[in-house]
Amino acid sequence: MHFFNVIRWIAWKDLLSELRNRENISSMFFFALIVILIFSFSFSLDPKTSQELMPGIIWIAFGFTGIIGLGKSFLAEVHNDCMEYFQIVPAPKGAIYLGKFAGNALFMLIVEVILFPLFILFFNLDVLEKIPMILLIFVAATIGLSALGTLFSALTVQIRAREVMFPILLLPLAVPIFIGAVEATRGVFSGDPLPLYSDWIKLLVVFDLIFMVVSFWVFEFILDY
């Protein structure tokens, strides 16, 4: 019971802070928006090429969004040594991880859901009936990205070159997420039948499961000795 209470408290705290300053969501949102704009400037996109490049552009934008948002997720915790409090508080460390993870995943999903209509608008996509599938892919990839991102955010938050180190550590390890998400999104957009790209979704789900478990376990060592 205490376990779930801790998750709830942490997520409550993150949501409340975010509601008060809107720092994370707004910076993530505008950054992703700028990435999309830059992409549409740098490629002259006719309908056919935009169909091909779309999945890649979407996930580059979301990837950078994740770096901006996730990298800052533990910043508030070190400000007044709150990480130290997490260590000495009699609460399971895995629950603290899950609380932070829940908040991060939620923020990323909110930004993605706001951005997606803009994508449709900018690139003239015809996706109405594909939306449930796309949402599923978003959720699966976002969970994986936040699972790793929360872990590495906690790892890098106390070091000098935080802004550089976070993407350097996160991106190579997140390669399977990007491959899986891009391929699945491509599959959906090009109207393939589900069996053709369901393997990629399975890859994402397996990745999510593995890294949720691994991060849950190793988080103990970050917050505790």
């Binding site: 790793l148 872990l151 790892l155 890098t156 106390q158 070091i159 000098r160 070159a161 180190m165 350097i168 550590l169 190579p172 390890l173 390669v175 399977p176 491959i179 899986g180 391929e183 393997d199 890859l203 397996v206 990745f207 593995i210 890294f211 691994v214 991060s215 190793v218 060592f221 970050i222 000795y225």
Partner: protein, 237 residues
Amino acid sequence: MVASRLIAKLQRYEGWFGIAAGLLIMVGLYMGLVTSSPDYYQGEVVRIMYIHVPAAQSAMFAYTVLFGGSLWYLWKRDPVVDNMCHAAAGIGIFFTAIALVTGSIWAKPTWNTWWTWDPRLISFAIMLLILVGYLMLRTFLEDKEKEATYAAILAIVGFIDLPIIHFSVEWWRTLHQPLSISTRGVSIARDMLIPLLLMSIGFYLLFAYMLMVRTQMLYLQHLLEAKRGRMLSKVHL
């Protein structure tokens, strides 16, 4: 502590590892470069194999040692084990880089390109990135204890991730372009196998030797730092 004593004991035979590695590599080099016959299709460039394959094997072995050492460190918190992990990462980068560069040189005459998006090449490149990230993380952290723990965590997560990365890249390649260039299935003649084997064992031994020297180096560096700072306990040397 157990690990420190074990490593100290092994260090006594350090020289023998070095000598054995040197001899094996020299014989392997002679057989590989002089007595073995060139490949029927690839000609002389096949001789790059005798350095490329052992380097790649040792690089993977280095990462395995790093993974095992990291688990060990998280379990026992022995600073010497941490030094060993640090050393293994440094040497791992070295061997990974050698494997990548020699692979690239080999690819040019055989496939007429310096780089192909081959799953194995990509996995190795990502492994290199992870190891470089590992060393960077270590240099940027000030608290030595945190440095060791965080680095160990990164090594473990990366090690678990590598096979997933490899499979996903392989899958992705086969989807987009059936592997036209097969990197495996080169049947190896006996006069090629023996030098390859010698070089492989030689490189493993060389890795072990380098690991011992480098662990010792890092340990001594820490010790010197501590001694220059404040040392209350007696230092046994």
